[in-house]
Amino acid sequence: MRNFGFTTTKSRTIDYEKIDTRLISYILQNEPSFNACLSCGSCTAICSAGNLTSFNIRKLSLQIRLGDIENTKLEIDKCMLCGKCLLECPRGINTRNVIMLIKKGLNIIDKNEI
C-alpha cells in the first residue's frame, strides 16, 4: 500500500454541515452579485496587492465559502481597494463592495453580533 502513495498526504474532508457560513451569508445578503463568481482568477491576475504580496483574492473567495474565517482575517488586510478587479471581472461582480463587506462582516463576527 505504501507504494501507492496513500500515506503521503493526510486525508482531507470537507464537512459541509460544519462550515461556518456567517461571513459568506452576510456578504451574499448585501452583495448578491458575489454569487456569480466562477473563480476565473482575472481579479487575481491584475491585483495591485497581489503584485506586492501573496494576496490572492480568488483563493480567498473559495476560503470564505468554506468558512475559513481566521485566514481571511489575515489576508484581507492586504487589499488596497484600488478597484482594478472591479474593471476586470467578467461577471460584473461589485468586488470593492465585497471587500468592504468582508471587512465589516469580520468586524461584526468579532463582536459576536452575527
Binding site: S48, L52, D77, G83, K84, E88, R96, N97, M100
Partner: protein, 591 residues
C-alpha cells in the same frame, strides 16, 4: 385681558431663542481650538464684511437659486427678504409712532391691532407694509403650487417631510394669509388699513365683521407664528439661521475636516432642502432616487443613514457644484464613511518589508512619474507617456514601474482614512527621497489625493495634460494637427476635483478639431466607473454610462478623448468609436 393673544407668539419666540442660544453655543464651543483662534483673528477684518454681503446675497436674496431657477429663486427671496423687510419696516413704524425703538417685541408684529390713530407718516408706512405683505404672499402662493406641482420650478422630485417639518411648513403657510385677514378685520372696524388690507376689509364689512371675529383672527395669526417658531429648530427651517453662521465661519477660513465634527454639523443644518441637488444627480437614470445629497444630509440629521444609501454615490460632485449654500457635500459624505468604517482599517504591515529604495537615474531628475493602478490597467496610456517623456528628453524616474503601492484615494473614497494614511506615508517618503521637483501623474484619482492629502511641500504635482502642454509651449515636443473631430470628456476628479479644464482642451485643439458637449466642464457627466460608489451594480452603471455617452456623442465626433484611465476603460466597453486618453493622442500627434 383681550391682549392675551400675544402669548403664543411671545412664548414661541422665547422658546426659539433659548434653543438657538444653546445650539449655537454648543456648536461654537465644540469647534477645534485652532478654528476658534481663526474666528477671533478674522473677526475685525474684511472677511466679516464679505460674510455680511454674502449673507444678504444668499440668505436673503437667494442669488444662487435665482441663477438656477428664477421662479424657485423668487419664491425663496419673497419669503426671506420680504419677511426681513417686514420686520425692519415694522420697527421703523413703531419708532415713528412711539418715538423709540425700544418697544415690546410684539408691538411691530401686531401693530395694526394696537394702533388705530394717526401718527407722522402713517399712510406711507401702512401702504408700504401692505406692499411687503403682498410680496410675501406671492411667495407663499408659489409655495402652495410647488407642493402641488414641483415641475414648474424645475424640480422633478421634491423632498420628503418629517412631522416637525410638516408642522412648521403648514404654520408658515398660514402666517401671512392670517396676518392679512387679521389686519383687514381691524381695518374693517377702525379704518386703519392700506391699499391691500382695505380692499379685503371691504369684503369683511359686507359680512359684518365683529370684534370677536377680529380677536379670533389675531389669535390664529399669533398661534401660527408661535408654532412656526417652536417647530423651526427641529425642522428644515433651522437652515435660515444656521446658514448665516455657516457663511461667517466659511469666510473665516474654517475648512471641513476628515472627521465629522461641529463644523460638519453646522453644514448639515444649513441645508435648506431646496432640492437643486436632486435633479442634477445622474442616479435617477438608473431609477435610484433615495440617495441624493439632500436626503443624505437629512439622514445624518435624523441619524438613520443606511450603508446602502451612504455608499451608493458616485461622488462625482455635480450636486456640490450647484448647491446654493455651498455645502461640501462630497467631503461630508466621505466623513460619514470614515465614521462608519473606522473600526476596521488595515495597517498594511507588508509595506515595511518591501524593498525600500527609490529608483534613480544617476543625475538630478526633472520629474518623478507615478502611473498608479489604473494606468497600469491601460498599457496604451503608460506607453504613450513614456514615449512623450523620452521624445522630449525629460530626465525622469518611473516610480512604480515594476511594483508600487496604491495612491490611497480609493481607500479615502471608501472612508478608510487610517488605512489610506499608511499608503500615503509609504509613497510620500519615496517621492520626497527622489529629489525631483515635479510629480507627474497620469490618473486624476491619484492627482486628487496627491494634491489634497500628501503634503509634498515644494514639489509641484502635475497631471500629464498640464505637463504635456508645458512641453509643447517650451518647444520640447511639437504636435501635428489632423482633421479628426474630438469631443472631450472631463473626468470628475480632474475637473470638479482639481479644477483642470483648459489644459486638456488646449492640447486637443493642437491635434484636431475640438467639439463642445452639451454638458461639459463644471457640469460634465460622470462616466459611471467612479470608485466613489461601492454599491452600484454593473447593470446600473451601464445605464448611467449609456446616458453619458449619448450626451458626449451627440455631434458624432471621430474620437472620444478623456484624461483618465478609468473613464477610458469604462467608455471603451460601450462605444464603437475610438476612445483615447489625451496621452495617446499627444503621443500619436508628435512629429
Amino acid at each position: 385681558m383681550e391682549n392675551y393673544f400675544i402669548l403664543p407668539f411671545t412664548l414661541g419666540m422665547i422658546t426659539l431663542f433659548v434653543i438657538l442660544f444653546i445650539k449655537y453655543g454648543l456648536w461654537i464651543a465644540r469647534l477645534s481650538h485652532i478654528d476658534k483662534l481663526r474666528i477671533i483673528q478674522c473677526i475685525f477684518t474684511r472677511r466679516t464684511w464679505d460674510a455680511i454681503v454674502e449673507s444678504v446675497m444668499e440668505g436673503l436674496l437667494h442669488r444662487s437659486i435665482f441663477k438656477r431657477n428664477p421662479l424657485l429663486g423668487y419664491m425663496h427671496m419673497s419669503l426671506a427678504f420680504g419677511w426681513f423687510l417686514l420686520i425692519v419696516v415694522g420697527h421703523i413704524e413703531g419708532f415713528l409712532c412711539y418715538g423709540t425703538f425700544a418697544n415690546a417685541p410684539w408691538i411691530p408684529i401686531f401693530f395694526q391691532y394696537f394702533v388705530h390713530y394717526q401718527f407722522p407718516g402713517e399712510r406711507i408706512m401702512t401702504n408700504l407694509m401692505d406692499f411687503l405683505l403682498l410680496f410675501i404672499l406671492s411667495g407663499v402662493l408659489l409655495a402652495y403650487f410647488k407642493r402641488l406641482n414641483s415641475k414648474i420650478f424645475g424640480i422633478k422630485k421634491t423632498t420628503k417631510l418629517k412631522p416637525f417639518d410638516k408642522m412648521a411648513m403648514i404654520a408658515l403657510w398660514f402666517i401671512f394669509p392670517l396676518r392679512l385677514f387679521a389686519e383687514s378685520a381691524t381695518a374693517a372696524l377702525y379704518g386703519n388699513g392700506g391699499f391691500l388690507t382695505n380692499s379685503v376689509a371691504n369684503l369683511f364689512i359686507l359680512i359684518h365683521v365683529t370684534p370677536t371675529m377680529e380677536s379670533i383672527l389675531w389669535w390664529a395669526y399669533s398661534i401660527s407664528l408661535g408654532l412656526f417658531f417652536v417647530g423651526m429648530p427641529f425642522s428644515r427651517y433651522m437652515h435660515i439661521l444656521t446658514e448665516v453662521l455657516f457663511i461667517f465661519l466659511r469666510h473665516y477660513g474654517i475648512k471641513l475636516k476628515k472627521q465629522f465634527n461641529s463644523y460638519s454639523r453646522i453644514q448639515v443644518y444649513s441645508c435648506s432642502r431646496c432640492g437643486v441637488c436632486i435633479d442634477v444627480c445622474q442616479m435617477h437614470v438608473a431609477n435610484i432616487s433615495n440617495n441624493q445629497s439632500v436626503y443624505i444630509l437629512k439622514n445624518i440629521r435624523d441619524q438613520n443613514l443606511t450603508d446602502r444609501k451612504l455608499y451608493n454615490c458616485l461622488l462625482c460632485g455635480r450636486c456640490e457644484q450647484v448647491c446654493p449654500v455651498k455645502i461640501n457635500l462630497n467631503d461630508l459624505r466621505i466623513s460619514q464613511r470614515i465614521r462608519a468604517t473606522k473600526e476596521y482599517n488595515s495597517d498594511y504591515a507588508f509595506l515595511q518589508s518591501l524593498p525600500n529604495e527609490t529608483p534613480t537615474t544617476g543625475k538630478q531628475p526633472e520629474v518623478i512619474y507615478f502611473a498608479g493602478c489604473m494606468t497600469h490597467m491601460t498599457p496604451g496610456i503608460k506607453k504613450s507617456i513614456v514615449k512623450v517623456l523620452d521624445k522630449a528628453n525629460v530626465n525622469y524616474i518611473f516610480m512604480d514601474k515594476e511594483k508600487g503601492a496604491c495612491c490611497g484615494r480609493p481607500l479615502m473614497l471608501a472612508g478608510q482614512y487610517e488605512a489610506a494614511k499608511k499608503l500615503i506615508d509609504f509613497n510620500r517618503k519615496k517621492i520626497l527621497e527622489s529629489g525631483a521637483p515635479v510629480l507627474l501623474v497620469s490618473c486624476p484619482i491619484c492627482y486628487k489625493v496627491f494634491r489634497d492629502d500628501y503634503e509634498l511641500g515644494q514639489i509641484t504635482i502635475k497631471h500629464h495634460s498640464e505637463y504635456f502642454l508645458e512641453l509643447v509651449e517650451q518647444g520640447r515636443i511639437s504636435l501635428k494637427k489632423s482633421n479628426s473631430s474630438i469631443v472631450y470628456h472631463d473626468p470628475c476628479e480632474l475637473g470638479r476635483g482639481c479644477n483642470v479644464y483648459e489644459q486638456p482642451r488646449e492640447l486637443l485643439k493642437k491635434t484636431g478639431t475640438l467639439l463642445s458637449a452639451k454638458q461639459e466642464k463644471v457640469m460634465s457627466l460622470c462616466c459611471s466607473g467612479s470608485l466613489g460608489d461601492l454599491s452600484l451594480s454593473m447593470p446600473d452603471r451601464n445605464v448611467i454610462k449609456a446616458e453619458t455617452l449619448k450626451v458626449l456623442l451627440q455631434k458624432n465626433p471621430d474620437v472620444l478623448a478623456t484624461a483618465c484611465p478609468l473613464c477610458k476603460k469604462t467608455f471603451v466597453k460601450g462605444v464603437n468609436i475610438q476612445v483615447k486618453d489625451i496621452a495617446e493622442i499627444v503621443a500619436n500627434a508628435m512629429e
